[in-house]
Symmetry: C2
Subunit: 354 residues, 2 copies
Amino acid sequence: MASIPTSTRAWIVANYPKGLATFTTSDDKNATFKLVERPLPALGPEQVLVKTLFLSNDPAQRVSIESSISPERLYRPPVELNAAMGSSGLGEVIASTASSLPQGTIVFAPLDWTEYAVLDAASCQPRNPLPNGLSLTHYLGAFGGPGLTAYYGLVVVGEAQRGMRVVVSGAAGATGSMVVQIAKNIVGCSQVIGIAGTDDKCRWVESLGADICLNYRSATFEEDLVKATDGFVDLYFDNVGGHILDLMLARLKRNGVSVACGSISAYNSQEPTVLKNYFQVITMRLSIRGFIVLDYLAKAKETLEIFVRAVQDGKLKISNDNEQVVATKFEDVPRTWLRLFEGANTGKLVTKLI
Amino acid sequence: MASIPTSTRAWIVANYPKGLATFTTSDDKNATFKLVERPLPALGPEQVLVKTLFLSNDPAQRVSIESSISPERLYRPPVELNAAMGSSGLGEVIASTASSLPQGTIVFAPLDWTEYAVLDAASCQPRNPLPNGLSLTHYLGAFGGPGLTAYYGLVVVGEAQRGMRVVVSGAAGATGSMVVQIAKNIVGCSQVIGIAGTDDKCRWVESLGADICLNYRSATFEEDLVKATDGFVDLYFDNVGGHILDLMLARLKRNGVSVACGSISAYNSQEPTVLKNYFQVITMRLSIRGFIVLDYLAKAKETLEIFVRAVQDGKLKISNDNEQVVATKFEDVPRTWLRLFEGANTGKLVTKLI
């Protein structure tokens, strides 16, 4: 039996960033993230020592290091300075005092950016193999937070119905790529229009079932959007906020809904959201509905069963294309996470620790 | 019997304004409104000739001469160039071919800015005296569009409940002053916080039942608002949009609602709505709900009966203080209307033609 580690490397939050986060493995005093070595506590009763295998990368993690928003206005506490950066992921139990989670169990857990962690067994959920030979990492994407976010945002918050016309931004992202498929193949929307940041992403989104996907970096994007939404649309699933939200306020039908899921355009910026079309919220009786998936998890098990059946019926295309697993040395954990904000990922971005 | 007029003076829309509207009684080519004389058509069957007595002044009229919004995105067609400016008001039937509306009847009608109008009798509603000796002009305010807007916005759109904490902007306006009273005395909200533009207006709003009213022109307004909304509020009834909306996004409780009723701060401006706090729509699961009172008029009669009972029970304070009736020569109709945008009125602003 390998010796049990008594310390771990950890990426801590040394400073809250003003714009894009930075990181250092040496002693840059201004960097957001700093690599350090930290002691691990001894295992208490009903605890496990987990070795991190995969880390989830989520745009919303940026919010937990945003100092311009008062902590009481966030949906979870911000990461404290000098604490390890928060995340979640899949790990292997390498030591345990909990009979429910013996050594060798693979768990989904609130793993921070550390190589090892001592956690309460109650906070860890064992994960069984997925159908169709899908990698366990899909528990971080289609069968995890992003998939559930897509489902509840679309079906519960947005009240999507068969026959509706839907626009989804961030359509090639972990959540957006699920919104496209759920809208088209589970809800039965009549038209699904994606918005993404490269032509390649757009073609991929169309391969998932979108009727069309528009590249917001195209010089003709605004005209393309007007044309694609001729006659106006019922629902906008907003992963990006900012300028595209503003454009969409002018493209929603009377009583249309914008589901406010994310605002990635603003996550690394001090720029406010500038809405030239806000007045159409009134004239067209629009609603903008913010939501957080955490409020809807009571039914997560049933929803994941819907997903499994949909995969088996061919209604959800979940494959290695739906995620991008980046083999990453621990020293490069922040670098991989920052790819989220470069628009570099197609589908879920997963860090595989090597 | 006086002779029947065959023409009328009319304020026509000569140009759509870029910012604040202007008006001319001579031949300024750039003015928004121009005074002209127009022939009146002969009465057809079931028509009435109405003499305008009182004109309603509503911020939303500005929208109908706004050329930057595509007409299909407005809730009623814009006023065409060279047509009389649209409004509504109270008039006296001075000639009639409709037995339902004999000469001498006082009607609420879609009166434009004209001294006389030939209208279909079906578009005119006779108005009986109000209880408690209230002037008929309250049919343009508390017992008209503004009162109904306040009620449906608060109770139906905003789902206001007994015990909630509510903030109302434009609280000294025709709609806001009704929101304050309905919230406090009909719905039973536990706290009603008004926002208005002068200390005098604030004291008046407090006399209507607001627990406190804050002057947004005060140097300490932002601090005052944070203090008054300590612990956060459930509902924001937004008559003004812009900066106050932005501040309120940071003062709503989780699952709080902003009822988007008006955006007077933007009506005469090309400036967009700038929201520094938009992200809190997501983190705090807020919703912003646009509405137009026209969608809720099926139950208007019942609602006005609620108001009449509330006046009799002392729960609604409707008096001459709730309106500002400005005796106006026809040449000055636009001038009186423009007072809306100077923040000059307390309660409903009514033009009485002299």
